[in-house]
């Protein structure tokens, strides 16, 4: 099979540039795995803690009491009290709230004065609102004591407030929520897979196509004793083998990194979805390959065609964070449907036809794209043949 062998040779030659994508992908996947192991508290409601910086000009029992209660909802981040350092921390959300208790606050508070606590926040943010609630809750209850029990000592006040705060609202977690968080890793992994897979497939398949589309080589090939049919079969087989190899390597890595993903049906559906995407991307790469005339243009086109859809379809930034217009534009790319299907699969707890049908619809759309890409590529190929 000389044609097949040649294709493999071309792929081998371009392996380094493809490996860059694969290595970066695996690196990120490993990072996600190590990061996601710590959030293994599925099935239980967890108190979210926001990061805050706490500076106090005095150290009274009241301030200590406030700090103690805040520690239930906040992590205290140690920061040097320098403007630029604090600005940096706020900008990069290392803290979302900086509390500064002025000297004399406690005295003023106990005497019904108007001293206030300084806060520096990310304006209008959810986390600032959350911390606001905690601070105001503590101080308002403390004020209730101060106003209504004349001459209450500071120690007794802090003690009583702590007592009030010792019980919590009971929280139930809805049952179906539990599997969703187990699939977090798989969703990240498979969504990001779309980027790497498209980059590698375009680089590989377009590189093969470029060689075969060279007019001189084509003419030479036509006078070889190999029939055109056999040549085409070998050529398609080579592309297919390459695409499948990419798919198997990358999906396989998922199970190496996270072996228990194999046991969940959700992951298996994602694997199927990625196979559909592989077919679709192969079609797209084939089309790009048949349009390209120079090797240098391939990396430019490859970058635009892979980065663009990934940004707007929810690979790098989750779909729920994208605005409606962007998603509408994105729905003209197969990546959008792939990511959408993955997100749906992650939320599934049962796998009847009825529940799966929206996901299957997404996969059908991906296949539709594949067919469209192939049809255009064949039309282009035919046109070019006539020209040459």
């Amino acid at each position: 099979m000389p044609v097949f062998k040649l294709c493999m040779k071309i792929i081998r030659k371009h392996l380094p540039s493809m490996m860059i994508y694969v290595v970066i992908f695996l690196g990120i996947a490993i990072l996600i795995t190590t990061a996601s192991t710590r959030s293994s508290s599925a099935g239980e409601f967890t108190q979210t803690k926001t990061n805050i910086a706490f500076f106090s000009g005095e150290n009274t029992p009241l301030v200590q009491g406030l700090k103690k209660e805040l520690s239930k909802t906040c992590n205290f981040v140690e920061l040097p009290d320098e403007t630029e350092k604090l600005q940096d921390a706020l900008f990069f959300r290392s803290v979302s709230y900086i509390i500064r208790i002025p000297k004399g606050f406690t005295e003023s508070f106990l005497n019904g004065g108007s001293a206030t606590i300084g806060k520096t926040i990310v304006p209008d943010s959810v986390s600032a609102r959350y911390t606001d609630l905690a601070v105001s809750q503590y101080l308002n209850i403390a004020r209730l004591y101060v106003k209504n029990l004349n001459g209450i000592s500071q120690e007794k006040l802090v003690n009583d407030v702590e007592n009030d705060f010792s019980t919590d609202t009971p929280v139930e977690l809805q049952a179906s929520a539990q599997t969703a968080s187990q699939n977090d890793f798989a969703v990240y992994y498979f969504n990001y897979l779309a980027y790497t897979l498209s980059a590698v497939l375009i680089l590989g398949i377009a590189a093969i196509m470029l060689v075969f589309n060279n007019l001189d080589l084509k003419r030479r090939n036509y006078c070889s004793p190999l029939s055109a049919g056999s040549m085409n079969v070998q050529f398609i087989l080579a592309n297919f083998v390459f695409a499948m190899a990419c798919w198997i390597i990358m999906v396989g890595a998922c199970f190496v990194l996270n072996p228990d993903a194999l046991s969940r049906p959700n992951t298996l559906w994602m694997v199927l979805n990625s196979l559909v995407l592989t077919l679709c991307l192969s079609g797209m790469s084939y089309l790009i390959g048949s349009l390209m005339k120079s090797r240098n243009a391939i990396s430019a086109v490859c970058n635009v065609v892979t980065l663009g859809p990934c940004f707007i379809s929810g690979v790098f930034v989750p779909q729920e964070f994208l605005n409606g217009t962007v998603l509408k534009i994105a729905s003209f790319t197969p990546t959008y449907w792939y990511v959408k299907a993955n997100n749906q699969i992650a939320d599934l707890t049962s796998f009847s036809y009825g529940v799966l049908s929206p996901t299957l619809f997404c996969m059908m759309v991906e296949l539709g794209f594949a067919a469209a890409f192939l049809a255009i590529a064949l039309a282009v190929g035919k046109n070019r043949k006539r020209e040459s």
Binding site: T116, G118, V122, L149, F165, T169
Partner: protein
């Protein structure tokens, strides 16, 4: 002679459409993608009243105190919740399962809540219910200690929640962390200008390209030829940077702060730094063009990554843990300069960044000069 070489080089460089793509169109496209993908991220961080439900029951109807508080925080512009009353628990469960609400409240012997996740909004709901619970507990403690407190207006005090905090802004600019992506993108584009510098060296070192071999035979001082070419590259690079900057500012409405003149100067200085970096790498590394391009790409992409172009928090992490790296990385120096101009009210850090960038530009230029000067070829 200068103008002759200058114009020829200008034509020569501009005809390299691939380079024009990478140094101008690609950053513009990335900017558009960034803008599309990140435009909503800040909205996501902004607090908005969120939907919850309360399950209808006799206990809820009887508990007027709780009902009043719940209704009071669910109306008006400063509201926390968009409240719906669910007929029964099944109805509330259904709303929750369909993601129509973040959680629901049940009033029975005690007040409880049911949610699906443990996110910030769910925690705000819990903080609200906790605060009701804690207040109730404090009222009973107060009455137990001093029953007369009710007569002195304890219940009135309950309604009068006071805000004990006052906002102290730390900067005149908003801490909008999306901006850093665009600053890093602009810094990356400056470094991509290195491709022009790389090409200048390839076209002046006789062992690297036939064109350079031809230029070397001409009776022109090599430094003069190189400087003319370098100026042509600098002109193109500066024009491209300004186009990108204008596109970011006026096309995508990226906020660069109020010190626009400094921003433009910084961008131009960054362009020069990038150009000289490319020339230096090209002069330093012996080998084919492929290797030079790969090294330049590796330097600029690693630099961009470390200054937060792919993942914003990296810049801060590096600054916290390996500060030396953030001062050695030219992409970060530039990103940080734009950031300082936008965010700080002082010029200290900006000056430090620009000083270090100036030093590295000088090193790149001097290095290039000493490598390429006086190279003669007996035979090629």
């Amino acid at each position: 002679m200068f103008s002759h070489i200058f114009i020829t080089r200008l034509k020569c460089l501009l005809r390299d459409r691939q380079l024009v793509f990478w140094t101008l169109l690609f950053p513009i496209l990335l900017g558009v993608f960034f803008n599309m993908a990140f435009s909503n991220l800040n909205k996501e961080e902004t607090f908005q009243a969120f939907p919850i439900a309360v399950v209808q029951s006799d206990a809820y109807q009887k508990d007027t105190a709780f009902r009043t508080v719940l209704e009071s925080v669910s109306k008006g512009s400063g509201r926390i919740f968009d409240l719906t009353v669910a007929e029964n628990r099944q109805a509330a469960d259904k709303l929750l399962a369909e993601n129509k609400i973040k959680g629901y409240i049940t009033v029975g012997d005690e007040i409880g809540m049911t949610v699906k996740n443990s996110g910030l909004y769910e925690n705000i709901l819990k903080a609200f219910l906790d605060s009701y619970r804690h207040t109730a507990s404090s009222v009973s403690t107060i009455i137990k200690t001093d029953p007369a407190a009710v007569g002195r207006g304890l219940l009135n005090d309950l309604g009068a929640q006071k805000d004990f905090t006052r906002e102290v802004p730390i900067s005149s600019a908003k801490p909008d962390n999306i901006l850093n992506y665009f600053y890093a993108l602009l810094a990356m584009t400056c470094m991509y200008g290195g491709f022009w510098g790389l090409k200048e060296i390839t076209d002046i070192q006789a062992n690297l390209s036939p064109r350079a071999a031809r230029v070397n035979v001409a009776p022109v001082h090599k430094l003069k030829a190189f400087l003319s070419g370098f100026c042509a590259a600098l002109l193109i690079q500066s024009a491209e940077i300004l186009v990108l900057l204008a596109f970011l500012m006026f096309g995508l409405h990226i906020d660069f702060g109020t010190k626009t003149v400094y921003v433009v100067l910084t961008a131009l200085a960054g362009g020069l730094a990038g150009l000289s970096l490319g020339a230096f790498i090209s002069a330093l590394i012996r080998g084919g063009e492929g290797i030079k391009v790969a090294v330049l790409l590796a330097v600029s992409m690693t630099g961009s990554f470390l200054s937060g172009m792919m993942y914003g928090d990296i810049k801060y992490i590096i600054q916290q843990h390996v500060p030396i790296l953030s001062y050695l990385n030219p992409v970060n120096l530039l990103t940080d300069a734009f950031y300082s101009l936008y965010y700080y009210d002082t010029f200290g850090r900006y000056a430090l960044n620009m000083g270090l960038l100036g030093v590295s530009t000088f090193i790149f230029c001097a290095g290039t000069y000493f490598i390429i000067r006086r190279q003669k070829y007996a035979s090629l």
